[in-house]
């Protein structure tokens, strides 16, 4: 593998991302309330919390897939940039990757087409992304007949080709076997080294310890802690987080 290129090429960065007073409700049910959060330009943030805490929802609000019922989600270049320009500088990897019924290479090229990359450059960039994640031998293989681990790696390669400034990962390893989990964690580090901001949810506390620079802890739709990882795992500030780390508050 070649030396890692720097992803930050734009004059003005997308980050920090600032959420102020963000609230989300469906009907009478408040799923997320009064979230204030700043995601700085570098690092790996792991979002933790019991099931139904609102982790996935928080990521979707940040990524712009869901609009908040109240409050503001603001990027550093919000004032001037169009919504699509902001979207094109982010990427998201889902728990279950959605891949199109075409070859691995064509899946990546499709994403590049949506980003407005000229046709001539697409296959070269797509092949480069596949190579980085060890998928070049499978380039012509149909994405739908790949194994679960290969599919998730392809989703990561697709995100890589987009050269995002920030990458959201929603429980990317929860459906994978241990070797595939390792591959995803390595991929996260590859993104990190290239300068991509990482925001990721997981149910795996070991994984959180391995990857986190800082931890966002959610419980019942409220953001209870946002602290450096070392502090969170040794000395949680809230009784909920302490119970969660002990395993008393998992599901």
């Amino acid at each position: 593998m070649s030396t890692t290129p720097t992803i930050h090429g734009s004059p003005k960065g997308l980050l920090p991302l600032a959420l102020s007073g963000v609230r989300f409700q469906r009907g009478d049910q408040v799923l997320l309330s009064e979230v204030n959060l700043t995601i700085g330009p570098r690092g790996k943030t792991i979002v933790l919390g019991p099931n139904g805490a609102g982790k996935s929802l928080l990521m979707r609000l940040c990524h712009g897939l869901v609009q908040p019922s109240g409050g503001l989600v603001r990027w550093a270049l919000d004032e001037r940039a169009a919504a699509t320009a902001i979207r094109h500088r982010q990427a998201m990897v889902f728990q279950r990757p959605v891949l199109l019924r075409r070859s691995a290479l064509a899946n990546v090229a499709h994403a590049l087409a949506l980003q407005g990359v000229p046709r001539r450059q697409r296959s070269e960039r797509a092949a480069e992304a596949l190579e980085r994640f060890g998928l070049l031998p499978l380039a012509t293989r149909s994405a739908r007949v790949m194994s679960g681990g290969e599919q998730q790696r392809l989703a990561l390669a697709r995100a890589w080709a987009l050269r995002p400034e920030i990458l959201f990962l929603d429980e990317p390893t929860s459906a994978l076997d241990p070797s595939a989990v390792k591959a995803v964690e390595d991929a996260v580090l590859t993104f990190h080294e290239a300068g991509t901001r990482i925001v990721m949810t997981t149910h795996d506390l070991g994984q959180a310890r391995r990857l986190a620079d800082d931890v966002v802890f959610l419980c019942n739709g409220r953001l209870l802690e946002h602290t450096p990882a070392a502090q969170f795992f040794c000395d949680p500030q809230t009784p909920e987080a302490a119970a969660f780390l002990r395993g008393d508050l998992v599901w």
Binding site: R60, H63, L65, T84, R87, H88, Q90, A91, M92, F94, P97, V98, L100, R101, R102, H110, A111, L114, Q115, S142, A143, R144, V145, L162
Partner: protein, 232 residues
């Protein structure tokens, strides 16, 4: 004339009677053209109806679904009124031509293809929406992506449309007129021969019609299966 009608029908087929060949080829031309035109119009419309939310969408979906059951004779009558000498499009001189038959069958097939593809694309959109939005796809840009990814299911929708076109008799009879050598197709010929008492010929035509349908469906199924096995 005492001969077994099945045997007589078989003889007609084996001998490749030229009149029969002409009828078969016109049937195929008309119904395949109608299915193709209806697919070109109906697939994008079905996809758009699946993706966009607007006032009156529910009524549009229900209306389209109801039109799947549009009686062929009613469709035939409407096109007849449009194309007849006194009608608004009478000057085109299309009544009692194969073109008129294609028009009326397109009208019958279009709701089937549009309604079925609406459902197919809506289900697929449910699965793809977040990923495609995350990649920055607009709804309009998602339409070709979804149509291509749903292609195996959509083939079945188009085949259902073709089946409806090749099986109906009322519409082509009214706008085509069942003119020998000009607008006579399988179904109108069967109706005519039955009323004349030529049951053997009618039966033979019926068997040919069913075999044609089987042949078209089998060919497309095999092509689809081959592609599906490669693409997953």
């Amino acid at each position: 004339m005492d001969q077994n009608p099945f045997a007589q029908a078989f003889q007609l087929i084996v001998q490749m009677d030229p009149a029969l060949a002409g009828i078969v080829s016109l049937s195929l031309k008309v119904s395949l053209s109608a299915a193709a035109i209806a697919a070109v119009l109906g697939l994008p419309l079905g996809a758009a109806l699946a993706l966009y939310r607007f006032r009156g969408r529910g009524a549009a979906v229900a209306g389209l679904n109801a039109l799947m059951g549009l009686p062929p004779v009613v469709a035939g009558l409407m096109v007849y009124l449009l194309l007849s000498r006194a009608g608004p499009l009478g000057s085109w001189g299309l009544l009692f031509t194969p073109t008129a038959m294609v028009i009326v069958q397109t009208l019958l097939v279009f709701p089937i293809i549009a309604a079925l593809s609406r459902q197919i694309i809506e289900d697929l959109w449910e699965e793809y929406r977040e990923q495609l939005q995350s990649l920055g796809s607009s709804r309009l840009r998602a339409i070709p992506t979804l149509l291509w990814d749903a292609r195996f299911s959509l083939i079945t929708a188009v085949l259902a449309g073709f089946g409806r076109a090749s099986a109906e008799v009322g519409a082509v009879l009214i706008v085509g007129g069942n003119i020998d050598g000009v607008t006579r197709v399988m179904t109108t010929a069967i109706a005519l021969e039955t009323s004349r008492g030529n049951l053997a010929l009618a039966l033979g035509l019926g068997l040919v019609l069913m075999m044609l349908g089987l042949l078209v469906n089998l060919t497309i199924y095999l092509i689809g299966e081959q592609a599906r096995r490669r693409r997953g």
